[in-house]
Symmetry: C2
Subunit: 482 residues, 2 copies
């Protein structure tokens, strides 16, 4: 209702650039028949599962800059080709951090005999000298508590402890891992141990990215298992000093050339309007990235394969982007947003599958007012896979954050993540942890929702612009549940 | 009803040596008051838990022959003294096997890129050459299947796979670990991988004893995680050879001097009649043996502490035996049975707590006919801890097997073992896995049942003699659930 009028030429070009929403409408009988040809094969053919075996058992871990990551790029190109989906690579310069020797030990005291601690370097961690670093442990439960310690951090090993119990706690505590080590370094700590961000543990360390801003020299930063964090806590609570020796041989190598893999199913009527289906091709260097994010990769690939078979093609273009470097830099996401800046106003919806291979629970949206009403009439084909309801007004994914300033509407398929953080970023994130039926159901939901976004008569209203500081803060910290 | 008459002198001496059962009777009011003074403190004082923290956090792993095992012997002596319970050591010669470097890798093929496998040497394993041993993997699911392979085992690495899912499966599959490697060695295998005997896994290897009989040179024998066993299975099922390299640096050192720790609360009326309460002081060299068998140790120690406070003392003697070397040799159990052979007819009941720190589910017996009727009237004080019922006619423990030929009646407190094999013989068998309330309840049940056996007017009828071959077969294989 603003009375301010834009010059009519500018107004016209903006309207041309950014598609406008239309009134709600239900799918036609022909459109509903497409649901059978998407949901049916996704549930029955097991194609996503076969692909997941290829990328996990066949290729293995895929940390940015590694041979595995490069193998995954080539595999993705080959696979899209086999599926009849046009695909290409887009260049991304990635950090190349490599793990080395890693071990720690509790040094003996009068109260305990010492013993090995189970640690795993965090991505981005600095190395210790070859002989290791030794220090007295000081424990904090928050970044705020660290700030209150002042001089007591100097020369110490900071233990970031916490009380994560359920998946929803990840968001509360992830900054201990991503930002804690840098803050401890600033305060004079010689090393840090971060309690693994885990919902279950059999002495299982969880890696993940930590970030040292420019000007802060990385210090050794390792995750420690829940068990060993609790041991250190009990020993500290028992009084007297607790000393630990930590050896980390990780290295930051020169940046490497890598790629996003992009694939498209061209729209029949509005090929310039783009539905982005994202997932990330890289993984951590432990385990085989089955849930994180092999599952997401094969779901969006399968959606493209099934959509490419539809005649006629959907109204708009469906573009799959397999991002590189989600885990430790988001370079792929940033490169995509830069390379495609001019197109972003015509990105009419974007999804990222990056919450594992759990069964679908519902559809989510992050869009302007009225979006839910547009989408709701199209959800009936998902009732059978347990996903026919609209959940909270929130959707996204770390690789989508660079799209926020362009006000791209996000949609998502919410999944059961009960056991996601049991294996997230661990040696245990392997194919056996993904349930084939759950993967197939989520794949079906993604395929249908991609079609819905590509085929609906109108597009989703765009969400309001995000608050200014939120836009560029696309660091390696994943949002809760990712 | 035999008409055969023994010479009356021999008959008299046998009757004197082996106490005879009496008719059933209920406890008196005074005896029931003792229940309050045993069950009450066991539930409220947390003394067993404190002791469990000492032996796990304070001492750590306790493999036979290690410094930890020796520290545990000294700790037990000190602790009994502090509790006012007379204690001493009895010598046991123990094997001394030590873990070294251990790693394995899947070698690349056209179908997969290779990668590390997570392995852990089995106790008793042979070493590989420093550079490791490489071989093609052949998979079997049973010892019978191995026997059918004949020449196909020569020069291969045998993968013993299985389908363990629940605690009850342990008994079915444990022989793959304990006997499989020796049988594979006989058949010409160069090494073996045994799928971990686990009810949960986060890429968690489980160790345990394997046995090479005299004349069979030990070959390298490692457990492999459930995840990696399933990976190998999938790759083998996919066709084509799967080659693995295994490096194990373990060693068998000369035997060492060690000890059982024995403690006694003397009986007031029949001090020569002995109720044996057993547990084992040794553990594996990974984790801190919290469930296996720190929990058992502190339960029987706490029973002795509480019984020692009772005035008057119970009718019979309660003897605690903390056995050394249950895990990889049963040398403590054998040494005890030999040193106390003359006393075994006067062992009127024996229990071993070696199934973790779970909550009590009931009382079990392995005795002659009529035993249940004698015990049942004494169970009411355990109703409140969920253990007031008599379960199956089976009780025992690996360290009690040498007492079988002497027909010693066994009693037990059955415990919830749902999660026992999640952590059994792993790095994750640590204090945090034991639930304080469950430990306290099981401790209460042990203390009361020890009193019952020591105080009942009569003793349990002795069970029939075991079948001849079962008696000496006291190898390191634990029975199901232990």
């Amino acid at each position: 209702m603003s009375t301010f009028l834009l010059p009519s030429t500018l107004m016209a070009s903006l309207l041309a650039a950014t598609p406008q929403p239309s009134p709600a409408s239900a799918p036609t009988a022909a459109q509903l028949q497409v649901a059978e040809r998407l949901v049916g094969p996704a549930l029955s053919e097991g194609h996503a599962w076969t692909r997941l075996a290829e990328i996990t058992d066949g290729i293995g871990p895929r940390l940015s800059g590694s041979e595995g990551a490069e193998a995954a790029v080539q595999w993705a190109l080959r696979s899209f080709k086999a599926d009849g989906v046009k695909a290409w690579t887009e260049p991304v310069k990635v950090p190349r951090w490599v793990r080395g020797e890693e071990r720690a030990e509790l040094l003996s005291s009068e109260r305990f005999r010492g013993r090995p601690l189970t640690v795993m370097a965090l991505g981005g961690s600095g190395a210790t000298p070859v002989e290791g670093v030794t220090g007295e442990v000081v424990e904090v439960f928050s970044l705020e508590e660290l700030a209150t310690l002042g001089e007591r951090v100097k020369g110490r090993i900071v233990l970031f402890n916490h009380t994560m119990e359920k998946p929803e706690d990840y968001g509360r505590f992830a900054s201990l891992r991503s930002r804690g080590p840098a803050l401890a370094a600033k305060a004079g700590a010689v090393a840090t141990l971060v309690r693994s961000l885990a919902t279950a543990s059999l002495n299982t360390p969880h890696t993940g990215a930590t970030r040292f801003e420019d000007g802060i020299a990385p210090i050794p930063a390792a995750s420690v298992t829940v068990e060993d964090a609790e041991l250190l806590h009990r020993l500290l609570a028992g009084g007297g000093p607790v000393r630990v020796k930590l050896v980390l041989g990780c290295k930051e190598l020169p940046e490497a050339d890598s790629f996003n893999v992009v694939a498209e199913v061209k729209g029949r009527e509005k090929p310039e309007e783009i539905i982005l289906l994202g997932a990330h091709l890289d993984s951590w260097d432990v385990g085989t990235g089955a849930h994180d994010d092999g599952a997401g990769v094969v779901m969006v690939m399968e959606a493209a394969r099934l959509l490419a078979k539809q005649k006629p093609a959907p109204r708009r273009t469906v573009r799959v982007v397999l991002f590189m470097n989600e885990e430790n830099g988001l370079r792929g996401a940033k490169a995509y947003a830069e390379a495609h800046a001019a197109e972003l106003p015509r990105h009419v919806a974007a999804l990222e599958m990056d919450a594992g291979g759990g069964k679908p629970l519902g559809v989510s949206l992050r869009a302007g007012e009225g979006a839910a009403e547009l989408v709701r009439p199209w959800l009936s084909p998902l009732v059978g896979v347990g996903s026919g309801n609209l959940l909270a007004q929130e959707a996204g994914g770390a690789d989508l954050t660079p799209l926020l300033p362009a006000r791209v509407p996000f949609f998502g398929v919410r999944q059961d993540g009960t056991h996601y953080f049991d294996v997230h970023h661990t040696h245990a994130d392997t194919l056996d942890k993904v349930e084939p039926e759950a993967l197939a159901k989520s794949t079906a939901a993604v395929a249908w929702m991609a079609y819905v976004m590509a085929e609906m008569p109108g597009v989703l209203p765009r969400p309001p612009a995000p608050p200014a500081p939120a836009a560029p803060a696309a660091g390696p910290v994943k949002s809760s549940g990712h």
